[in-house]
Symmetry: C2
Subunit: 216 residues, 2 copies
């Protein structure tokens, strides 16, 4: 049974693989699960048909037979729990790995998204420039301990796992910001994730959607 | 084996049960699992001994024999996965319920915390008042679809679950803000959660810590 994802027909990230279907594509590639994609315009995302699947009008959704899921974290965890290769078998290591998935999404990502949201919604406001250092300090207060914990390990807790997949996905949002420059081990960690063949396949798949939209 | 939580010795929420140990206490009470609590001062949270357990210097941590976890979402999910009563048995319903845990923490909570952070860190800034409506609109853009999806159901997806526990925990942060006033079904949902005996026991336990700190 091939699961069906929804993704942006025209991703606002200009093909950089920052939309939330990216982690799901990557997870499916890591476990070797073929999938189909249904592309949605922004207008279609706000129509009742999609809102019945995703009440917040976002992508991705994940359909696998009768199962319908949303929230990329939950979808990645579901894929990891129902396939081999993205979660350790030992129950304690598995619980810790799931802990790092939550850390990526609930501790590391919020200040990163907050800075992005300010860049989108408050760029024209008189306070935008003055708030910049504050938003960056909030991100750094999370990156510094993450960098310290990772140290010189390749991955967060043993072999590559769904936790690394999610953490790298979150840290990639900082690409071009310079905020990883002070943390060479985190920059190398992101590069290690991006070098994985499964990441490459997922990236190319979403990039092909971007190119097709450009040409249309 | 009684798990051991860490919690604030002096919670900054003045006993309102908004610190992140609350959802873990509530989950343990729902499943009838006795637990111990180790209280930490703010200074102790930043010491190497605690940072070895929780790299971001936060509470709660959860120790259960050799297993050490952090991230309240992951701890609640672990409790739900290792005890009866907080997750449905059917695999699809279980995956959907886990999806709502992520929705609570990754879709609903971020704009709520963003507004709180502004209240703490930017109250003295010249732009603080002007940004208020923007921060509230971001929260409303999440509350409106959540309210629509809940409709007149008691809980998000079938019987009470870890998803409701987490969503009510997140929505409680809006207490006193007036932001739930436009969504009577969400206000009633929060009240239903707070009326549960397990919630009450968890609330009293953290409130006792607050009262003891006041008297000390």
């Amino acid at each position: 049974m091939r699961p069906i994802l929804t993704a942006f027909a025209q991703s606002p990230d200009r093909g950089r693989g920052l939309a939330r279907d990216m982690s799901v594509r990557w997870a499916l590639e890591e476990v070797g699960q073929p999938y189909d994609v249904r592309l949605l315009t922004f207008a279609e995302m706000k129509e009742p048909e999609h809102l019945a699947l995703q009440p917040f009008g976002q992508i991705p959704t994940y359909q696998e037979g009768d199962l319908l899921l949303f929230e990329s974290g939950a979808i990645v965890l579901h894929i990891a729990q129902t396939h081999e290769g993205l979660l350790p078998g030992d129950p304690s290591a598995r619980a810790r790995t799931i802990g790092w998935i939550f850390a990526a999404l609930n501790t590391i990502e919020p200040p990163i998204l907050d800075r992005e949201a300010a860049g989108h919604a408050e760029r024209g406001e008189p306070w935008h420039e003055a708030r910049g250092p504050l938003l960056e300090r909030r991100i750094e207060s999370r990156l510094a301990p993450l960098s310290g914990r990772l140290g010189d390990a390749d991955w967060l807790d043993g072999p590559f796992s769904a936790a690394d997949l999610m953490m790298v996905t979150v840290l990639r949002r900082l690409g071009g910001s310079g905020l990883l420059d002070g943390y060479p081990n985190l920059a190398a960690y992101v590069a290690r994730g991006e070098a994985r063949p499964a990441f490459q396949r997922a990236f190319e798949a979403q990039y092909a959607v971007f190119l097709a939209a450009l040409r249309a």
